[in-house]
């Protein structure tokens, strides 16, 4: 494997992704990420000069909606997904900036 993921990187990626990994999981993730980067390196060997970067796999563009209100109030159904609700709102752990 050409790409070696450091402990710091895996720690940082874990923080960004809000994942708490065990030591074994960290080792596995380092290996997986390394081989993914190896694969990208392989792709980089191809000469892609003059090729437009692809941004979507389907040859479709300009899919739009008209600006017309079609949704009504379905608060009860939406809040049925909430682990906890209060006063018509989702309850989450206290979050202050």
């Amino acid at each position: 494997m050409a790409n070696v993921i450091s402990d710091e990187t895996i720690e940082y990626v874990g923080i960004l992704a809000k994942l708490e990994l065990s030591e074994e999981e960290k080792e596995q993730a380092k290996k997986d990420m390394g081989s993914m980067l190896d694969y990208i390196d392989k792709l980089n060997e191809l000469d892609t000069s003059g090729v437009e970067p692809m941004s979507h796999v389907f040859p479709v563009h300009n899919v739009f909606r008209e600006d017309v209100v079609a949704n009504g109030n379905v608060r009860e159904k939406i809040l049925a997904n909430a682990p906890k609700e209060k006063d018509g709102s989702f309850v989450v752990p206290k979050t202050v900036e």
Binding site: V63, A70, R75, L79, V91, P93, K94, V96
Partner: protein, 479 residues
């Protein structure tokens, strides 16, 4: 010698677009609904839901881009910006990083000493707004309302071209005017439909490179922006003068305490792990589409100002005030279209309307009266049915309640007595009751007539035209 510092400012301005529905779903964008009543699986980030782009968002963004001299990105797409925060139900925001819809524009502002200067616009991109967090005072919890989640925004990113709070405000006013004229947003800072984040750094005068910048948030009035810029400039100078470094960070301005505090160290763009949004297909904007939008662009302020001067013969100063806000200009044109004299309409808007707005701490966008009612009021004056003092009183009702002046004047008995006989009788009794003033007048003190006019108006309870009273009094006294 003391070091001289230059302030370098760039702005990120978020503008809520005036669409009826959200950017990716058909929920209403109406402000002020009960929590979560304007939500659906898309804007609450439910698994399996898919976004569909609102065409009007693209059209407003193009319109703003054209009006700010940007080039339109004809192959344009959305990207995912990943971060965790409870107001962001998908754990990503759909935004644009790689191919923003508008680039390389700029607007001209006038600096304090009257010089013209162009503030560059780096890019304008489309994105979705987040939900709102309300902190529960009773429990250790926060409540999330997703009504605002998915409301369309454009973010206008300027170049670091501004050097003072005055320039920043001139730039914001210019943007606001353009966007309001386009009808793309009402741009109310207090209500958050226009939000400005200030990126500020300082450097020694003459330096080539920029200093480390901070980003300041939570600025919801022009005054707060000016104070925050002054405060941050001072803070950074103090740091540098005492040999410390400015840290790149996001700071939150507290306008009550007039101080700012660090929110979190600013994450680098790569930490957001942007990638092309797979749930939305690219947007291809044809030349025809751009031209169609260009041809629909309304008359903007500069053109309107010139037209007012030539078409309505309105002086420069008046035209500037009338066109300073689209709402004022709209009322002006609609009232003039009802056949009223432009100068007369302009006076009511410039003097009484502006006075009442200031008195009630309102903005022109808050005006609710119908042009028809202003036209009726002007009619009443022209017909001589009410005098100007009464008219001002009636106008306050028009301003506050959109009252119909004809009905109001009728119901409150404010009409001038057209019966000359009754007026003449009153004047004669006033003359008889005030021999001293009459004697003064006859002795050459012409000013004494003012007192008699006043007494007559009082006796008539204001329902007389002072000009007519003056004329009749003179006739009686001189006879």
């Amino acid at each position: 010698m003391e070091k001289q510092y230059e302030t370098v400012i760039g702005l990120e301005v978020h503008v809520e677009l005036a669409t009826k529905t959200k950017i990716f779903c058909s929920c209403s964008t109406e402000f002020g609904g009960a929590p979560n009543t304007h939500t659906c699986p898309v804007c609450t980030g439910m698994p399996g839901s898919l976004p569909v782009l609102n065409k009007q968002v693209v059209e407003y963004a193009i319109a703003v881009g054209l009006a700010t001299n940007c080039s339109i990105t004809q192959y344009c797409k959305f990207d995912r910006k990943n971060y965790f925060y409870p107001d962001n139900p998908q754990n990503y925001q759909i935004s644009q990083l790689y191919l923003p819809i508008c680039r390389n524009g700029g607007v001209e502002i006038e600096t304090k000493d009257g010089e013209k200067k162009v503030v560059g616009i780096h890019e304008i991109h489309m994105e979705e707004d987040a939900g709102k967090l309300i902190h529960d005072e009773w429990e250790d919890a926060s409540l999330v309302d997703f009504n605002r989640s998915g409301v369309p925004l454009i973010e206008i990113v300027s170049e670091p071209d501004m050097r003072s709070a005055d320039e920043v405000i001139a730039y914001l006013e210019k943007l606001r005017m353009i966007i309001q004229y386009l009808g793309a947003s009402d741009c109310k800072l207090q209500e958050g439909s226009m939000r400005a984040d200030v990126n500020l750094s300082i450097r020694e005068v003459g330096a080539e490179t920029f200093g480390t910048r901070t980003e300041m948030k939570n600025l919801n009035s022009f005054k707060a922006i000016a104070r925050a810029i002054e405060g941050e400039r001072e803070r950074q100078i103090d740091l540098l003068e005492s040999g410390k470094a400015v840290i790149q960070e996001t700071r939150r301005w507290d306008d009550n305490k007039e101080t700012s505090y660090a929110m979190r160290s600013k994450e680098d763009a790569q930490d957001y792990r942007y990638f092309p949004e797979p749930d939305l297909v690219p947007i291809i904007i044809s030349d025809e589409w751009i031209e169609e939008i260009r041809s629909r662009q309304p008359e903007l302020r500069t053109e309107k100002l010139e037209r007012y001067k030539t078409e309505y013969d309105i002086p420069q100063y008046d035209a500037e005030i009338l066109t300073s806000h689209k709402k004022l200009a709209d009322i002006f044109e609609a009232t003039v279209a009802l056949g009223k004299k432009p100068k007369e309409v302009s006076n009511w808007l410039m003097v009484e309307t502006m006075r009442l707005l200031k008195e009630h701490d309102l903005e022109p966008s808050d005006l609710t009266f119908a042009p028809e009612n202003l036209a009726k009021l002007i009619d009443l004056i022209e017909k001589g049915a009410i005098n100007r003092t009464t008219a001002k009183e009636v106008f306050e009702k028009v301003f506050a309640e959109n009252a119909d002046p004809e009905v109001y004047v009728e119901e409150n008995g404010l009409k001038i007595e057209a019966d000359d006989g009754a007026l003449k009788a009153i004047i004669e009794s006033i003359v008889a009751a005030n021999p001293q003033s009459v004697a003064d007048y006859k002795a050459g003190k012409k000013k004494a007539i003012g007192f008699l006019v006043g007494q007559t108006m009082k006796a008539m309870k204001g329902k007389a035209d002072p000009g007519t009273v003056n004329k009749m009094l003179t006739e009686i006294l001189d006879s």
